[in-house]
Amino acid sequence: MITTDICIIGAGPVGLFAVFEAGLLKMRCHLIDALPQVGGQLSEIYPQKPIYDIPGYPEVKAQELVDNLMEQIKPFNPTFSLGERVDHITKQEDGSYVLTTNDKTKVHAQVIVIAGGLGCFEPRKPVLENLEKFEGKGITYMVKNPEMFRDKKVVLAGGGDSALDWTIFLADVAERVTLVHRNETFRGAPDSASKVFDLANNGKIDLILSANLKSLGGNGKLDSIILENKSKEEIVLNTDYLIPLFGLSPKLGPIADWGLTIDKNAIEVDTRDYSTGVERIYAIGDINTYEGKLKLILCGFHEAAIMMHSAFKYVYPDQKLSFKYTTVNGVNSF
């Protein structure tokens, strides 16, 4: 079990700066992020894009800002669990929390700060009747263990890179692979697309173009899929598995089940201290919402400072908080 004062969910710019604000108040932080590296969207999506609205920087590249934030929080020795997602939180008798990740890492913290940005990127689901009924019973949204498809009939749906790549890979594993795509052409890597066309021409896979998923069949377990083609004709496919690959879409994930007030995928907070409706849980940065909210990094920085001063009372219940400037006191590492 990792023990810390503050556990920050999300290691994007706002989560990282929150470590600095906590550090000035002598509170230690542990950060957890679903991505394998720190920086959130900045490192993952647009590391080389310039940002123009960070005070004091006329222009700064996203990755450079992340690197600088890491340098800035170094004196406070934050610890990290990267590539992990917090699945559960359990309130302790003394009010503190234990957080458990999908990798079973446990963190004991006095305060939880959700700085989760857009949330977790989760597979986008097609709109099909009974879809949920067959999830885990023939429908899976990612290929974790290709061996489970060995000698099985598998239908993949989608036209992006992952649909193409997995079609090519599973062609050698499954008994039969069928790729269903609603267009005539693929926008994925041309190399992969031409490989898929070759496999289809050689009879190694079935390629069904200009068709959409229409309905699912099976008694308890998926056994058939009905497609509809351009001329509105139905095609019935018998299958063991369906893998819909329609890209990823940001979702709150397990956070949505923690009893917080959620509005349009964002957590409602009290703007006096960015606390949620649940004691000792705060939300800062793009993941929170309030009247007048602006999804800006600089607003998240401000929220982090206010929020940490409010959290002080849970970490040091017997101490009086005195506000200090870094110009007067410097940055005292620990």
Partner: protein, 106 residues
């Protein structure tokens, strides 16, 4: 100012008037008009929750970028005239256009 319409589920069309000189996106105007657009990613063509179908006036919208087309192509329910509202700029060209919301709303 420019006026375009949003078609509701029941087929009725409702006008929206928006300034065409503020560099606004269609997503921003839809949100400001209280339509249930999540716009989770804030306008970066990443989440596709502002997916709209252009029922009329698609020629005035300009071409979609590769990033936008990739997102649309990945959607399970695209239409031949699908766009992401966050990538559509409000301009005079939108006069008379008609949109239908198709994004996830929860």
């Amino acid at each position: 100012m420019v006026t375009f319409h949003v078609e509701h589920e029941d087929g009725t069309r409702h006008p929206i008037e928006a300034p065409d000189d503020m560099g606004l996106s269609l997503m921003e105007v839809l949100k400001a008009s209280d339509y249930p657009v999540l716009a989770t990613c804030g306008g970066m063509a990443l989440c596709a929750t502002c997916h709209v179908e252009v029922l009329d006036g698609k020629d005035g919208l300009g071409d979609a970028s590769d990033l936008e087309l990739d997102q649309i192509d990945n959607l399970p329910n695209p239409t031949p005239t699908s766009r992401l509202a966050c990538q559509v700029r409000i301009s005079q060209e939108l006069e008379g256009a008609v949109f239908k919301l198709r994004g996830e709303s929860n």
